[in-house]
């Protein structure tokens, strides 16, 4: 038994645009692999190649020792698309019934539990449901046949925090059972919560593969402090880990790589009115990975 997912030189061009560029991925059985990168980095295109929706320009993708085009392989995959497009006429019960028949059976008891757990309205057509409720149908259909491999594209987007927790618990349970998870996301917290190893992707290239602790250590944070009284950016430049410190709209803005300890202790000497951590841009966050330079 080899890797759950293996790609070799996987490349996809859309006209002049190279969406995925010579991607070499290896996801071991039983692990949760985070596929992290900004929007437009080629994550969804990679997934669509794994499932044979689009065909590689070059390279190969092996999924569960076969091809994503093979029905016997697809039977063992659960797929939750980033942009879930259900037939608007289908209710949750209809999706479960139809996909269950296509998959030659599913775990009925487990599915019933899932439907209750996510509190789904079984009879309502999906077109009449809220985005969150539609996503729940997506989750149920991805998990209902207890697949060996779960391919999850931005899984918690559109879920409220309570449901996000429920979803994370569900993924952990399935992993404990032995499932492999390929989790694509542009959100660091989503990946942190679940993944063991993370591949960082940018502009179609895999720029690094690292463990979550290493990622945390090397990720950059952007912090803003509103400080009362006089201060100068120069006080903070030169603190270990600080990449830049500057004044922005009257507040101090610091970009830190790794530990924020030094900065916090330095700021604590002043009366601090407010601390904000603006939504981190992944490109920003993983500068240190990108700067290693692309592999040849």
């Amino acid at each position: 038994m080899t890797a759950a997912i293996q790609t070799r030189g996987l490349t996809k061009d859309f006209g002049a645009l190279r969406a995925v560029d010579r991607l070499d991925l290896e996801v071991a059985r039983g692990e949760v692999f985070g596929f992290l990168g900004p929007n437009g980095a080629g994550k969804t295109t990679t997934i669509r190649m794994l499932l044979d929706f689009v065909r590689p320009t070059a390279g190969t993708a092996t999924v569960l020792d076969g091809s994503g085009a093979d029905p016997s392989v697809r039977r063992r995959i659960g797929y939750l698309p980033g942009e879930l497009k259900l037939d608007r006429r289908y209710s949750a019960a209809e999706v479960v019934g139809y996909f269950g028949r296509l998959r030659g059976g599913y775990d009925a008891k487990f599915t019933q539990e899932l439907l209750e757990r996510f509190d789904l309205d079984l009879a309502r057509p999906s077109g009449e449901l809220s985005t969150g409720n539609r996503r729940k149908i997506g989750i149920v259909q991805a998990f209902m046949h207890r697949p060996e491999l779960l391919i999850l594209d931005e899984p918690t987007s559109g879920l409220d925090p309570l449901l996000q927790n429920e979803f994370i618990a569900l993924v952990r349970e399935e992993v404990a059972r032995g499932a492999t998870v390929f989790l694509s996301s542009h959100l660091m917290p989503e990946v942190e919560a679940l993944a063991g190893r993370v591949g960082v992707v940018r502009r179609g290239r895999l720029v690094a593969v690292a463990s979550v602790p290493e990622l945390r250590r090397r990720a950059r944070h952007r912090l803003q402090f509103l400080i009362e009284g006089p201060w100068s950016p120069a006080e903070f430049q030169g603190i270990p880990g600080v990449i830049s410190a500057a004044e922005r709209d009257g507040a101090l803005e610091v970009v830190v790589e790794g530990s924020v300890d030094g900065v916090l202790k330095a700021v604590a000497r002043h009366p601090v009115l407010r601390v904000t951590t603006p939504g981190d841009d992944l490109t920003d966050m993983f500068m240190s990975f990108y700067q290693e330079g692309p592999p040849p």
């Binding site: 669509r48 698309p81 497009k85």
Partner: protein
């Protein structure tokens, strides 16, 4: 046959309305027959029309419109009936692959253990079955409601059955064009546009070529001519009215298969 059955099940609501619509069209058409019956002036009007116009009306020398075969041919098989079946077939054909790819539901379906081949062929069969069912319904409607309006006088029932079959197959041919264009491009709008263009071009060609006194073989370029050249209600079944369409429909649909098999989904 899960994909086949599900496609039909998904269309159950619209099918109900189509069924009612077709029945209403049949009954209204039949109900007008008593007021046309025996009106010789109407025949005079049609006989004075140019040959091209006569051809698109399905009018044939020697079969008066004031007779049941002439009236039904003109009002049902050359107009309302065929147009309803054609729209139905084109709508079903366009949504089968192109439409569901465009709305994104095809991709989720294909994440299941089904091949593209299976979706393509089962959905095509479902389109064909659906058109066949509505043609049969049209036949049943005419046969049951006809006698109440004396609208079956002089109508050969075998000819009527084959006329319904031929009507359905011309519709299916255009549905197949829509199906193929949808599977080729992944767009419903393109599928509808191509099928409509083919239908209109064939309809016009039939009129123009009938008037132009061209050889029979040339007139056969229009599918409408296959079906409308002979009044089967008066003359009985005619192989040319259904066999070419029966062969051409799957050929047209399957022509898009290699492209659908090999291309990227949108």
């Amino acid at each position: 046959m899960t994909v086949f059955l599900k496609f039909l099940e998904d269309r159950r609501r619209s099918s109900l309305w189509w069924g009612l619509g077709i029945m209403a069209a049949v009954v209204f058409t039949l109900a007008f027959y008593p007021s046309v019956k025996g009106q010789d002036d109407l025949d005079q009007v049609l006989e004075d029309l140019p040959a091209g116009v006569q051809a698109v009306f399905g009018f044939e020398e020697g079969i008066p419109i004031s007779s049941a075969p002439g009236y039904l041919q003109l009002r049902l098989f050359a107009s309302v009936g065929i147009i309803l079946l054609l729209i139905l077939a084109v709508a079903a054909g366009a949504s089968a692959v192109g439409g569901s790819e465009e709305d994104g539901s095809l991709e989720l379906l294909l994440a299941n253990p089904v091949t593209r081949r299976r979706v393509f062929f089962e959905r095509y069969l479902a389109v064909a079955a659906s058109v066949a069912a509505f043609s049969a319904l049209m036949f049943a409607g005419v046969v049951t409601a006809g006698p109440a309006f004396d609208a079956l006088e002089g109508v050969r029932i075998d000819g009527l059955a084959v006329a319904c079959l031929g009507c359905g197959l011309i519709a299916l041919l255009h549905g197949s064009v829509a199906f193929a264009a949808g599977a080729w491009t992944g767009r419903r709008s393109t599928a509808l546009a191509v099928a409509s263009a083919v239908a209109v071009a064939g309809y016009l060609a039939q009129g123009v070529l009938s008037a132009a006194d061209v050889p029979e073989a040339v007139r056969f370029v229009s599918p409408w001519h296959w079906f409308l050249r002979d009044n089967m209600l008066a003359h009985g079944p005619n192989v040319a009215s259904w066999l070419p369409a029966l062969i051409a429909s799957p050929v047209v649909a399957v022509a898009a298969w290699p492209r659908f098999r090999d291309r990227d989904l949108r």
